[in-house]
Amino acid sequence: MARLELNSIGKGFGPVRCAEDLSLTVESGEIVAVFGPSGSGKTVLLRMIAGMFEPDDGDIMVGGQSIVGAPPERRGIGMAFQNFALFPHMTAQDNIASGLRAKAGARELASRVTSISRLLKIEHVLGHMPRELSNGQKQRTALARALIGNPEVLLLDDPLRNVDAKLRYEMRLELPNLLRRSSAAVLYVTQDYREAMAIADRIAVLIDGRLAQVARPEEVYARPASVAVARLFGDPSINLVEVVPATDQGCLMCEIVGARIRLGSFHDQAADQGPCWLGVRPDDLAVVRSASEDAIPARVVAVTPMHERAVLLLRFPDGTEWLAALPPDSPMASADDGVFVRFAPEAALLFDRATGLRVDVPHRRQAA
């Protein structure tokens, strides 16, 4: 099987740039999630690989061969669309069979359709027309159609977007195994960071047509390359505050509304950074009743349940608002309580305020 390589892809529609100097390699058998906010160019990227648009600059290679300029039908690519794009005038069976580009014999075709539909648990609806299928069945049919031809590259355009929550959860568990059977290089577009983290081997974070970070899911979460990436991962999203860190007695310190907070685990070199964003994820905050030098005084504005946790909206005396996500068994605070907020030094992330890049690690573009 073959790897997919994107070499400094650029694409614009008129004055709008949808892709800028995009480079990425997906190995055979690897699942890379392309994750980014809507309008970041994810779909255009997939469509360039599939051959619906051609890139203005750069090259796309499958197995070391350029596929730019080749018609879609000769690119060896399977694709599942967000809106399923099933052929409404064909049965599920014919939809799936149409994906077998090698003109297999009737018997082989039938057996391949049977085995893939068994794998995807849709054997019982093969005779149905798309309009008679539930969204989940449509989505599985679309996946089967993309998978049946054993494509070298598999593109999945937000395939779980239009299915209900329960099915989405199941598919998050099933999909990685299913995709790894095919040994294709998989590019998986999603707008949901949880989905990206659950399914992918690596995540490529796309912001405004540029790759902001390409790394393993844990690393993107724990060590986001920039403040923009940090904001995209996590729900509720990361709390940010402006700080000016300074070295004090060998420790890196900063002050947030009167609280002196030690960021000691950072290297001294960061001391010269000047103004920074300090980011702490809501999950990493502790809300306590007792004051201390490193606790930020705050008032609870509101408490809402979210997933299994309780989310507190906190307001600092200077008006800054942070969110804290507390486990359900933690002592509950209620609205208007005066509390103190603390976090471990390791939980704090520092970003240069001018460039937005994370401070403690020199930024390096991910090598392929």
Binding site: E54, D59, S66, V68, G69
Partner: protein, 310 residues
């Protein structure tokens, strides 16, 4: 990651793909383009003829005379008659068909099975060839056996001559036009009425607003785009009416019904005056062009909206 691909091999298929992608739509629309040319060439020819002295029976007199054909019209009572009769015919038919079509659409507004059946049956006149429809009415208004002649005679009008009497010819032809084309307006307005949102009407009903107020202040304004579209469609067709007038009276009695296209037809075939005929049609084209420019803009907006919702 081998970035050292030779430039040439990369650029060539890309350029070929672009070229292929660009040529394809042109190839597909080539036949349609040919038809366009087949329209445009005679059209330009007509424009040129209109600037010539060109009579088929006197070919040696043919020559360029500028806008003389047009200037001649200014002092020609026949032209003013044509202009007047065309405009009167158009105004009468459009207004009558609009009022009648709107009334019928209001009657059939609720989508019951009976109303749907009626609206389908009412399409039949519209699907009858207008020339044939004129013949049907000619049979019905025949002075010796026509059913309509008989019916009006019951009311004392024993000498009602319909299309052959100059004083009633226009009325008769307008009647046929109304018979054929009212269903057109009706069916468009009915589609419009049934696509209107229900909430304003339900709110009005709850508030006990009088029906006339609902009609003039809610229904009509919301229906306006459909009314404009339907009546402009009719306006453009009506000012060019040929089939009904020609099949019914050939422009007569006398010059009573010499609408534009009938006059131009006779200029061409009877008087073989190509130049004058072309000039007459150019003036008609100018009138329709002004109208259709307004119309197409309106229509495209409506169409875009219809597709947006689809």
């Amino acid at each position: 990651m081998s970035m050292v691909q030779p430039l040439q091999t990369q650029a060539l298929p890309r350029r070929a793909a672009r070229l292929r992608g660009r040529i394809l739509p042109y190839l597909l629309s080539l036949p349609a383009l040919l038809v366009c040319i087949a329209i445009l060439v005679p059209f330009v020819t007509a424009a040129i003829y209109s600037l010539q002295r060109y009579r088929l029976n006197l070919p040696y007199l043919r020559g360029f005379i500028g806008v003389d054909n047009y200037i001649d019209f200014l002092s020609d009572p026949a032209f003013w008659n044509t202009l007047r009769i065309s405009l009167v015919y158009t105004a009468l038919t459009v207004v009558l068909e609009l009022l009648l079509g709107l009334g019928i659409a209001m009657l059939l507004r609720r989508p019951t099975r009976f109303h749907n059946a009626v609206s389908i049956v009412l399409l039949l006149p519209l699907m009858t060839a207008p020339a044939i429809a004129a013949l049907m009415w000619k049979l019905m208004t025949n002075p010796s056996f026509g059913i309509l002649s008989y019916l009006v005679s019951l009311f004392g009008a024993h000498d009602f001559k319909w299309a052959s009497d100059p004083s009633t010819a226009l009325f008769t032809v307008v009647l046929v036009d109304v018979w054929v084309y009212t269903p057109f307006i009706m069916i468009l307005l009915l589609a419009g009425l049934r696509s209107l949102p229900r909430q304003p009407f339900e709110a009005a009903a709850l508030d006990g607003v009088p029906a006339s107020f609902v009609f003039f202040r809610i229904t009509l304004p919301m229906l306006a785009p459909y009314i404009v579209t339907a009546s402009l469609f009719r306006l453009l067709d009506s000012i060019q009416q040929f089939d009904i007038v020609y099949a019914m009276t050939q422009g007569g009695p006398g010059d009573r019904l010499m609408v534009f296209q009938v006059q131009a037809y006779l200029e061409f075939f009877q008087y073989t005056n190509v130049g004058r005929s072309a000039a007459l049609l150019m003036i008609l084209w100018l009138i329709t062009n002004i109208l259709s420019n307004i119309f197409i803009k309106n229509w495209l907006r409506l169409r875009a909206r219809a597709h947006g919702h689809a």
